[in-house]
Structures are given as structure tokens and as C-alpha cells.
Amino acid sequence: MSEAQTPHLAITDLNAWYGESHVLHGITLDVKPGELVTLIGRNGAGKTTTLRSIMGMLKNRKGSVRCLGQETIGLRTYQIARLGLGFCPEDRGIFASLDVQENLMLPPVLKPGGMSEDELFAIFPNLKTRFNSPGTKLSGGEQQMLAIARILRTGASLLLLDEPTEGLAPVIVKQIGRLIGQLKARGFTIILVEQNIQIASQWADRHFVLESGRVVDQVEGGDLTAHMPRLKTYLGV
């Protein structure tokens, strides 16, 4: 198999549980290198759980999750991350007891090729001026930028972004939309969970529609207008 044919991430029949409660029921999807796919679906559909299962953050998961061909189902979370995954959680996960600089520098470099500090400051000029404030003293938008910036340093090539625009002002949402476009242009492979249909459809190659822990539909990203009504019913807008 040539490099181009190997999916960056291939999930087959993934099942996952929170304790006794069976949440993912056989998710199958794949992402090609450099591709941007979205996971869409109503609240509670299992989007966040899918990302957390990819990271091995749910202890009880079955099926297959291959990263660049390597099976990860038996690995611990930190071993999975070291294959070059960058995770940006839904609640941003900024640490209150760390200042902005410590939050930014917390994730260790996993692979060569991550962005330098200078590159990051060019993209996120606000962060530098707030370097010594506690991470949680930043505004919601700045916290989201920080949560994304810190995984760009690490050399991760596959980014898992969980609702990066949730609860933010329209102008920040636009900024983050542009940023996601830049990241795609730089060659990152991205799995994006997004309720904002504008953002979701702006750069996506494909959309996977989740419902009750299953992939119920797959929509090509190219022709937006044709699929808009279908996307809208899935998102419940």
C-alpha cells in the first residue's frame, strides 16, 4: 500500500462504554492524510465520545482504531498521543493553576515539524501579551486560541477539534473559521466536531453524520448548496 492510500486514521466498528452505558455502537469512518472531515449530529449523538475514544480516554472501547496503519486499540492514551495526535477538548481544557505560557508549553513535542513559538505568535498575537496571566483569566475566545495553539507546537499531524467555536462571539467564530482553513492549507489532517454549519461546511472534504452513537450518513463537502437541506435536518436547525 502506498502512503497516499493509507488513511491517516481508520476507525472500524468502534464500540465504547461509559461504565455500563453503551454509547458508541459500531462507528466506522476514515480520514485521509490532509483531509478535513467533520462529525456532525445533535447533542448527545456521540461526537465528543468518538474523539475521546480515538484518544483512548474511554477505558472500555472495542473495535479498531488505526493511526497511519498502526492499531491503537490496546494502547494507553499517552502512547496514542505520541503517534502524532493533537486533542482540543470541547471545554478547551485550559488549566487554572498554569499561566498562559505554561499552558502553551505543557504538551511535549511529539514529532518534528511543529510550529515554532514565533509562528504561533504571528497567528495568535494576543497570547504573547498575556503570557503571565493565569490561563483561565483569558477571554473565552483567547482560551480557545490557546487550546488550539498548544497542540500546534507538538508536531501532531492529526488534530481532533471538538466544537472550537461553541459559545463564542461571531467575530471570533470567523477568526477560528479562517484559522481552520489555514491549518488545512498547511497540510494538517483534521477531525472537526462543529455545530456551526457555516464553519462546518467551509473547508470540509466530507461530513460524517452521527446519531445515537452510529454513523447514519456521509455527505461530500464539495457541493454545499446541494446538501444544505440534508445537513440542516441532521443538525436540527
Partner: protein, 292 residues
């Protein structure tokens, strides 16, 4: 000249005793706080691990002729390794269960360790020779060099640990993992190893406290039990898991205890617990805990 009807000799003497007790409280509650912060385990074996420090120092001296200064390094390392094995093979299995299980498991370990030492060596205190005899006359009182050394090294260890946690990269991993260890692990940090090392560090600190205590208090199987009850009160007052809180309240309560001995000797043993209840009523989550 008297102060509130008390001679300065008595007052300063008790304050010095309080400072020495406070040095042990601070070192021990610091270790407990570090462990609790990361693992959410109330380490009931802490007193036994402190006792083991003193006991291993005594064994090293009497069996192998290893002097105090050697024991000061060897005993904490050996007991920290024992602690890391305990974490790896017992506590790790319990980490997803109710926190009560960790408490019960460490309590059982404490009882077993103390039982074994009691069985092997009896309950009477084993003497340990003071490695730094002599002292200095301060005019109002005699200050033994060894006690000065204990106060100094305790201050250095507490300050060093605080700097390590608050000012270094490794410390930032620890602080972040205290908040959300699963997210720290999702960044590729080997959190299981961090937990093992942290537990080993806390245990090593307790054992070091034990070695320091050996020449002051006699070495006996129950020395840890007596100490640990007070130290739990110190940790509660400082705020479970708060590093600065554990250190400051350790020294402060040692001094408070010393003062009570001067002004109300009968109440000395209960001062710390009275303060604990008071602190719990005023700041239920501890004096130094950060509001979440």
C-alpha cells in the same frame, strides 16, 4: 522579665520545641498533600512510612554500621522504592474505584508494616545516637545543634519542593495533572509514571522525616501513628492537596501547640484538633484551597 506571667525562657523554649514539631508536621503534610493532589488517595500509610524511615536508619546503623549521614540518603530511597511498588501493584488497581478503597488499602498496609516491626523488635523505643551532639548557649536557653539542623533541612526541603512544583516544567505537569490527569495524558505525557514517581516522592519525604526524627524521638513501631493523626489535621486545615497550605499550616500548628503548652498545658494535645474544627467551620475546603 515576664511575658503575661511566663518567663521568656519557658516561652522561647516551647516555641523552639513547637518549631521542631512543626518541621516534622510540615514535611509530612507536604508529602500527603502532594499525593492527595495528584492521586486523590488519602495515604494512611504515611505514618508507617515515616516510622520505617527511622527504623531502617536504626537497622542500617546497628546491623551494617551505616552512619546517620548514609542512612539519610539510603533509607528514604529504599522506602520510596517500596512505596512505588505499592503504587504500581496495589493503588493503581484501585484508581478507578471509590477513593475510600485507596484509604482502606493504605491503612491496611500501615497496620501490617507496624505489626511486623512490633513483632520483630517489640514496642519499646530503640535508641538512636545523636549524630551532632552539643549545642549553643543562647543566653536564655540551650539550643542543641541537632535541632537546629532539623529545622534548617526541613525548611530547605519544603521550600525546594514548593519551587519544584510551582516553578518548573515538571511541576507544571504535576499541577495540570492535579486538575485533569486524563487531559494531560492526552497530550502524550506518561501520567502513570508521573503518579508512581509522585507517590514515591511523597513516601520518600515521609521516610526522610523518620530518619531526622530518630535521634530526637525514640524509634518505635507506634511513632508514626502518633504523628500521623496530627498531620492529618494539619492537612485538613491547610486544604487537602494545597502545597503551600500544608507547609504553612505545618509550622503554624507546631508553634500554636508550643504556645498552648506554655499558657494552658492541659490543652496542648487538643489544640490542633480544636483548630481543625474551627477551620472546617470557617473555611470548609481548607485555608489555602483555591476556589474552583
Amino acid at each position: 522579665m515576664d511575658i503575661f506571667g511566663v518567663s521568656p525562657q519557658l516561652l522561647l523554649g516551647q516555641l523552639l520545641l513547637g518549631l521542631i514539631n512543626g518541621s516534622f508536621y510540615a514535611m509530612l503534610s507536604l508529602g500527603l498533600a502532594v499525593i492527595f493532589g495528584l492521586m486523590n488517595v488519602v495515604n494512611f500509610a504515611h505514618g508507617a512510612q515515616y516510622m520505617l524511615g527511622a527504623f531502617v536508619a536504626w537497622l542500617l546503623l546497628t546491623m551494617f554500621g551505616v552512619p546517620y549521614w548514609g542512612a539519610l540518603v539510603i533509607a528514604p530511597v529504599v522506602i520510596a522504592l517500596f512505596g512505588m511498588a505499592l503504587e504500581r501493584f496495589l493503588l493503581r488497581r484501585l484508581q478507578n474505584e471509590d477513593h475510600l478503597f485507596g484509604l482502606l488499602a493504605t491503612y491496611a498496609v500501615a497496620l501490617i508494616v507496624e505489626g511486623l516491626v512490633l513483632h520483630g523488635y517489640g514496642s519499646s523505643g530503640l535508641p538512636y545516637t545523636n549524630p551532632i551532639p552539643g549545642g549553643v548557649m543562647l543566653g536564655f536557653m540551650f539550643l542543641p545543634y541537632y535541632r537546629l539542623w532539623v529545622v534548617a533541612i526541613s525548611l530547605v526541603l519544603c521550600l525546594g519542593t514548593w519551587l519544584l512544583i510551582e516553578r518548573t516544567k515538571l511541576g507544571s505537569y504535576l499541577r495540570a495533572a492535579n486538575e485533569r490527569s486524563e487531559l494531560v495524558e492526552a497530550f502524550g505525557i506518561n501520567v502513570p509514571k508521573l503518579v508512581t514517581l509522585t507517590y514515591g516522592f511523597g513516601v520518600g519525604l515521609a521516610a526522610l522525616g523518620g530518619v531526622l526524627a530518630a535521634p530526637i524521638y525514640s524509634v518505635s513501631p507506634s511513632m508514626g501513628t502518633n504523628m500521623i493523626v496530627v498531620v492529618f489535621a494539619v492537612v485538613v486545615i491547610g486544604g487537602m492537596g494545597s502545597i503551600a497550605g500544608a507547609i504553612v499550616s505545618g509550622y503554624a500548628l507546631g508553634l500554636a501547640e508550643g504556645l498552648t503548652k506554655v499558657f494552658y498545658p492541659a490543652g496542648a494535645n487538643m489544640t490542633i484538633f480544636a483548630l481543625m474544627i474551627l477551620a472546617l467551620m470557617i473555611w470548609p475546603s481548607g485555608l489555602f484551597s483555591k476556589a474552583q
